[in-house]
């Protein structure tokens, strides 16, 4: 274990965290402002990846695929919001969970029907296909690109929320949705906007993850679990919470997987370390979540209720 190795693993953690931030920013807004549990958020991520794969097949340009797939995911999100979810906003959480769980199955079947059950391939764009030398350690250039794109999206989101009138309404909605509605703001429109924004971010995450992960039916579910951990840890409805929560979960998960087995190895027998190391490493983020919830039940960065 040396400084370079740790630095590389921190980058890995950052990259995962940034991807999780894109996912959780949208979900936390929908959850926090509309008080709506949308389990199908991971399906939008999957749709982003599949649409990018389709666009890439048609135009052979990753940039074009990115620029087309994200708006297309927003449109899908808006359509789902209007056609399926609109009637569920006033229902209780259990109904929403059941309905959006059904949506997951529907989306998985749609992509299986359209693209088949086998994974679909997205090429890493040629310019980013190599590795960057990081003080003697090769690091995949594409993962740097994920960090850059995610940070840019995060900055844009920050500007939107903290510097614009729409952002002000979103913030107000997160703190007290009823009051915002009472003041004459068109909550339906605001909701649609937030849902579209969330869908777009999930789609962006899906497009960016496509070249690393295999694009396949059901790819949205594992990432959804992590996303829920992030927003519960960070504080529901808070973008800042989603950002720090995502980085924290990304780093702890990656560093745990990277170094815990070695730590166990140093402390206990090889056989025990090989059994316990990975088990504890995969539990770490859930332990983190439990710890945060025990100490701060509203998450690390809860929305301030005036």
């Amino acid at each position: 274990m040396n400084a370079q190795l740790i630095a590389t693993q921190v980058l890995n953690g950052l990259q995962l965290g940034i991807l999780l931030f894109l996912m959780s920013a949208g979900l936390t807004l929908v959850f926090g402002i509309m008080n709506f549990v949308n389990l199908a958020h991971g399906s939008l991520y999957m749709m982003g990846a599949y649409l990018a794969a389709a666009m890439l097949g048609a135009f052979d340009s990753f940039l074009l695929a990115l620029l087309l797939a994200v708006p297309a995911t927003i449109l899908i999100g808006l359509a789902v919001d209007r056609l399926v979810l609109a009637g569920l906003y006033s229902r209780d959480h259990l109904d929403q969970v059941l309905a959006t769980f059904g949506l997951i199955l529907v989306f998985n079947e749609i992509v299986r029907f359209a693209w088949g059950p086998a994974p679909v391939y997205i090429n890493v764009p040629q310019v980013l296909s190599g590795t960057v030398d990081l003080f003697g350690f090769p690091y995949p250039a594409y993962r740097f690109a994920i960090i850059a794109v995610g940070l840019a999206a995060g900055l844009a989101l920050y500007a939107l929320i903290n510097r614009t009138r729409v952002g002000m309404l979103i913030r107000a909605g997160a703190a007290d949705a009823e009051m915002v509605g009472a003041m004459g703001v068109n909550i339906r429109l605001l909701n649609a906007l937030i849902f579209g924004l969330g869908a777009g971010l999930a789609g962006l995450a899906g497009v960016m993850a496509g070249p690393i992960l295999s694009v396949q039916p059901g790819m949205g579910e594992p990432v959804l679990v992590l996303t829920l951990v992030v927003i519960v840890t960070g504080g529901i409805g808070s973008i800042r919470g989603a950002f720090y929560g995502a980085l924290l979960v990304g780093l702890i998960d990656t560093l745990g997987r990277a170094f815990l087995p070695a730590v166990f190895d140093a402390l206990a027998s090889k056989a025990f370390a090989q059994a316990a190391g990975p088990a504890v490493a995969s539990m770490l983020i859930y332990l983190l979540m439990a710890l945060v919830l025990a100490m701060r039940p509203h998450g690390l960065f809860p929305v301030r209720h005036a």
């Binding site: 995962l16 088949g116 086998a118 594409y142 690393i212 990277a258 090989q274 990975p278």
Partner: protein, 395 residues
């Protein structure tokens, strides 16, 4: 009064349904119902689909019959969840009353369903998963495998690693039953201590942390077992991390015909070991591969090949008993003879009903049409028997 009417309606409906069921039973003996259980949804669905396609290919060629008896296949999707598999066994053996269940993709599902199927004296033809327990102490006369015991695939790769003189090898597998079996099998023939063993959660898709660990320890080779989409992720990330071509990859169930179209260049040169490859030179295999490519438009995987053999096994045994599975001991004896032209060439059952067969080493290369496929490069283990057969009390 109204309520009563509705209740009566339900009763009448139920009675009619029962009556038709009884009628079907009485007419019976025409169609033989077979359960086909596999992973047919979720991330690993492609594996189950290939198994199903392989099985159905043989059935279609045979006019929908096995052993002269018309077959109706009841599809069951275990979703890679052992508890779902157990529920499916209940409905297959209960409501559907099937005497035979074929398939099962993953070892964790197999371990859960095996005792429930075999204790009911229902025949289980395993066409993929081969956990070690079933070959040893937990073996059953009602279970027959047309694939391999998990370890066998890793054993042949371990043998190859030892023969190449690799000194520092890292094994990396998912953290579940098959993963353990594969590492155990690898170590049985690769005797030197492993440099490291890395176990990742079965749901983990991104291997950045582990690949960084591998890059840092610079081993002579990496042994991996990542079935389905996991294998696509692993090799592409391996290539992106600049490791492909620098550190050889030895694999099992990772670069199969399902994954190769997605892995393409990222799999070139990867070594893999199993009992069957598309280029094995025998008549049954040539007919199978050509038929599969014609019907489904893709190169078959070993999942399809094993399920095709499963159908051939049932066909041969049902022929011997005139399509009657009711006399279980007679049917069992017919199955044990394994009297069919396997697509892998020589095939026979050991005492534990697992295959005794040649194990090959393949390398990923391009074929004449530019498609990425497996080419046989060696057959180190001939007429190979699994390591657990002695623990099985069956003769």
């Amino acid at each position: 009064m109204k309520k009563h009417h509705r209740l009566m309606g339900v009763c009448i409906g139920a009675c009619m349904a029962l009556a038709t069921l009884a009628a079907a039973h009485a007419a019976g003996q025409e169609k033989l119902k077979i359960g086909f259980m596999a992973e047919l949804s979720g991330p690993q669905a492609a594996l189950g689909q290939d198994m199903y396609d392989g099985f159905m290919l043989y059935l279609d060629r045979n006019g929908g019959k096995l052993g002269g008896r018309e077959i109706s296949v009841v599809k069951a999707d275990s979703q890679l969840k052992p508890e779902v598999g157990v529920q499916l066994v209940e409905s297959l053996t209960g409501r559907d009353d099937v005497p035979i269940i074929v398939g099962v993709t993953f070892s964790n599902v197999m371990l859960a369903v095996h005792p429930r199927v075999t204790q009911k004296k229902v025949f289980l033809i395993g066409t993929n998963a081969g956990p070690s327990q079933l070959a040893g102490k937990a073996c059953s006369p009602y279970f027959f495998s047309t694939s391999w015991q998990n370890d066998q695939q890793a054993e042949v790769v371990g043998h190859y690693a030892a023969s190449k003189g690799y000194k520092r090898v890292i094994a990396m597998v998912p953290n579940y039953q098959s993963g353990f079996d594969f590492v155990t099998g690898f170590k049985r023939y690769y005797k030197a201590p492993l440099l490291d063993e890395i176990y990742t959660p079965l749901s983990q898709q991104d291997f950045s942390a582990e690949l960084t660990r591998i890059a840092a320890s610079k081993p002579d080779a990496v042994f991996v077992f990542y079935p389905g989409g996991l294998g696509v992720n692993f090799l592409r990330q391996y290539q992106q991390a600049g490791l492909l071509g620098r550190i050889p990859v030895l694999s099992a169930s990772t670069t199969d015909a399902i994954n190769l179209p997605a892995q393409r260049e990222s799999a070139l040169g990867v070594i893999t070991g199993t009992a069957w490859g598309p280029d094995l030179d025998n008549e049954a295999n040539r007919a199978f591969v050509a038929g599969f490519e014609k019907k489904y438009g893709r190169i078959p995987s070993h999942y399809a090949a094993q399920s095709y053999d499963g159908a051939q096994l049932l066909d041969s045994a049902l022929k011997k008993v005139g399509g009657r599975v009711e006399d279980k001991s007679v049917f069992m004896a017919a199955l044990r003879q394994a009297d069919f032209p396997s697509v892998r060439g020589a095939f026979r059952f050991g005492n534990n009903n697992f295959p005794v067969q040649d194990m090959h080493v393949f390398e990923v290369m391009k074929d004449a049409r530019g498609r990425v496929t497996l080419k046989t490069i060696a057959t180190p283990l001939k007429d190979h028997r699994d390591a657990y057969h002695a623990e099985c009390p069956m003769e």
